[in-house]
């Protein structure tokens, strides 16, 4: 039995679909009231992991324990304590906002009076009061997202799993949505959110970076930044693509990514400046090299080595 504060404990979690290994020997521990972020590119196994954690998919190997329940064995018992917000809108387009919530309330076992009170409360909290009679299919992206969240937290779950909840939403709605998530975390709900937005990842209290089904980094955003092997340099020049080409097989460069008219280069140490300047001069590229603050993008790039790999 893990400590009472641990909500999710998974070890050796693996999921294979035929030849493809979607999730590979993943170890995970999420504590109460954490906002745990799953960061990773598409196809890195975020959705599959979340689906296994809530008992939707059967793992090929490994152990999962959520609130002390063995999953998938005790998945039925777990259902009353978790809320799950799917990547795709999964409420009914041809039912109104109130009808959707009413249906879910009954399914979740709320009695009539409690359901009415809870729905009124949710409509107000998620600014859906004016749309109560509107069909879900005619709502805007942000409204649909808030309705889906209302549906997922209707039964006041202790653990909320969200699979890329903001992928179809404008930036303003995304900010508002995250405010709502923090509100839930403050009230003691544990949240597990998958995303591929860096700004969302920064807001999480803890972050797990997934790459090709493996958990390649796990810690608070601060800790991950501190553990970054090396430091980023910003190379400003007129031809960042050529600069990138010139530095392609430079051994001091750990990772590179182009950002507008600049090239972000992760190097092991400040000493790499010299060799880089030399190489750029050789390639007749006029560039300015500056030190810069490390961010999660650097962490992501360094642990997944994505952009460098993509060049090969």
């Amino acid at each position: 039995m893990p400590g009472t504060d641990v909500v999710i404990q998974a070890s050796g979690l693996t999921k294979r679909f035929g030849q493809l290994t979607a999730v590979d020997n993943l170890n995970l521990r999420v504590r109460r009231a954490e906002v745990f972020g799953f960061l990773g590119p598409n196809g890195s196994g975020k959705s599959t992991t979340i689906r296994m954690l809530c008992g939707l998919l059967l793992p090929s190997a490994g152990e999962i324990e959520v609130f002390g329940y063995q999953i998938p064995r005790d998945a039925e018992a777990l259902k009353r304590r978790i809320g799950y917000m799917t990547q795709k809108f999964s409420l009914y387009d041809d039912l109104s906002v109130v009808e959707n919530l009413g249906f879910l309330a009954t399914v979740q076992g709320l009695d009539r009076g409690a359901a009415r009170k809870r729905i009124a409360e949710l409509l107000e909290r998620y600014w859906l009061g004016d749309q109560r009679q509107q069909l879900a299919g005619t709502l805007s992206g942000g409204q649909r997202q808030r309705l889906a969240l209302a549906g997922a937290v209707l039964h006041k779950p202790d653990l909320l799993l969200l699979d890329e909840p903001t992928s179809a939403v404008d930036p303003q709605s995304r900010r508002e949505f995250w405010e709502s998530l923090f509100e839930l975390a403050d009230a003691g709900t544990t949240l597990l959110v998958s995303t591929h937005y860096m700004d969302e990842a920064e807001r999480c209290t803890r972050l797990g970076i997934l790459d090709n089904g493996r958990l390649v980094a796990d810690g608070s955003p601060r800790a991950l930044l501190d553990a970054l092997p090396g430091q980023p340099l910003l190379i400003e020049c007129a031809q960042p693509r050529q600069a990138k080409h010139a530095l392609r097989d430079c051994s001091e460069v750990l990772a590179m990514a182009q950002i507008g008219l600049a090239l972000r280069v992760l190097v092991a140490s400040e000493d790499a400046r010299g060799p880089i300047e030399q190489r750029l001069r050789d390639a007749h590229i006029d560039a300015q090299i500056k030190s810069t603050e490390a961010n999660l993008e650097d962490v992501f790039v360094s642990v997944t080595r994505q952009p460098v790999q993509a060049q090969r």
């Binding site: 939707l56 059967l58 998938p72 009353r80 799950y84 999964s90 041809d94 039912l95 249906f103 076992g109």
Partner: protein, 369 residues
């Protein structure tokens, strides 16, 4: 199984159905359209076949016979011919599909026919000849009827005449309407349930529902039960229209007819549920439903007479629920049979339902993979 959750699904389903105008229109529209189509247009009893008369006897009695056959409206006697060559050319040109030939010795043949003993009737030479364009099946079928047409003055012996006991007026609708109840229920029940169940999966609702306490059987039952009501509504529409348009009688018990329909609805819904476990998309569900639907229509005895089919086809037909319902519906409506008389059909439908549901149970799971 919780009654509250089940009710929640039914209420949701009815709300969605109410907003889905197209489906709703189809539920009432399909029975009406089919009834009118099968009742009027697809009339297996062809009437008004263009024909010619070659009366070589030309006696008072032969003219009487010609007038009688003309008034039957099966043949539309457009030409009076004087020699067989004319007949040949008219047939070949397609201007007529049949020709009534009255031989020179018509009177003599008629006499001898009347004097033959009962058991040697077939040895006599028949007094009338009907030449038919054999390339058209429906014309052939009609001609067969005409061959058994009672002729005036011909003391037609009962051994020759074809007796159509349950449908003396040869109304196709009388045979069609009971079968049509089954065909329409098959189409709508199987297809709509299969589609309705798969839709939940295809649109992604299922992924969310799986993480709620709702069990797959509450969901399935809740989605299927409204269709029982819809099926009974369709039966009512067909019976009422059949009555109003074609005066189709219900000679047996109305309650038993509804009972038989309910059983058939259950069998069709079970088939629909099973299909839904095979299909991944609504389109696939529709295809599989059509695939089960065709043999039912073709082999059940709705389109073609059961007795005329080869043994193998009959065996397959026995496996199909529509075959059994057809016997039930025709029995109750036209022969005033009771459910007890028809117990083998009831048993067959029950076995089919249980089998389909058991197959479905083994395939429904609460996981996505």
């Amino acid at each position: 199984m919780s009654l509250r959750r089940l009710t929640a699904v039914i209420v949701k389903e009815l709300r969605q159905l109410r907003r889905d105008r197209l489906t709703f229109a189809m539920i009432v529209g399909i029975p009406l359209l089919q009834l009118v189509l099968f009742g009027y247009a697809i009339n297996m009893d062809v009437r008004g076949i263009d024909a010619a008369v070659l009366d070589q006897a030309n006696t008072a009695r032969s003219r009487e016979v010609v007038a009688e056959i003309g008034s039957s409206q099966i043949l539309n006697l457009r030409y009076q011919l004087s020699n067989p060559q004319q007949m040949d050319s008219l047939l070949r040109q397609g201007k007529i599909s049949a020709a009534l030939v009255i031989p020179r010795d018509f009177e003599a043949r008629l006499e001898s026919q009347g004097s033959l003993p009962q058991d040697r009737l077939s040895q006599g030479r028949l007094p009338l000849q009907l030449i038919v364009d054999g390339s058209d099946q429906s014309v052939q079928a009609s001609a067969r009827q005409l061959a058994s047409y009672p002729l005036p003055g011909w003391e037609s012996r009962q051994g020759v005449e074809l007796v159509n006991f349950y449908n003396p007026e040869r109304l196709a609708a009388l045979n069609t309407v009971p079968g049509l109840i089954g065909v329409i229920l098959t189409m709508t029940m199987v297809m709509f349930t299969a589609i309705a169940l798969v839709r939940e999966r295809e649109r992604g609702n299922m992924e969310m529902l799986i993480t709620t306490p709702l069990s797959p059987w509450e969901l399935t039952l809740g989605k299927v039960l409204p269709f029982v009501g819809i099926g009974l509504l369709q039966v009512t529409v067909i019976l009422l229209t059949g009555r109003l348009l074609f005066e189709v009688p219900i000679r047996g018990s109305l309650l038993e007819l509804y009972g038989a329909s309910l059983l058939f609805i259950a069998a069709s819904l079970a088939l629909g549920v099973f299909i839904s476990t095979l299909a991944q998309t609504q389109f696939q569900a529709m295809q599989v439903a059509v695939f089960t639907f065709l043999p039912q229509i073709l082999l059940s005895g709705f389109m073609f007479p059961f007795a005329g089919m080869p043994k193998a086809a009959q065996w397959i037909a026995e496996l199909l629920p529509l075959t059994h319902f057809l016997r039930l519906a025709r029995g109750i409506m036209l022969r005033s049979a009771g459910l007890i008389d028809l117990w083998p059909e009831i048993l067959a439908l029950l076995v089919f339902t249980v089998l389909m549901l058991s197959l479905a149970v083994t395939r429904v799971s609460k996981h996505l993979d």
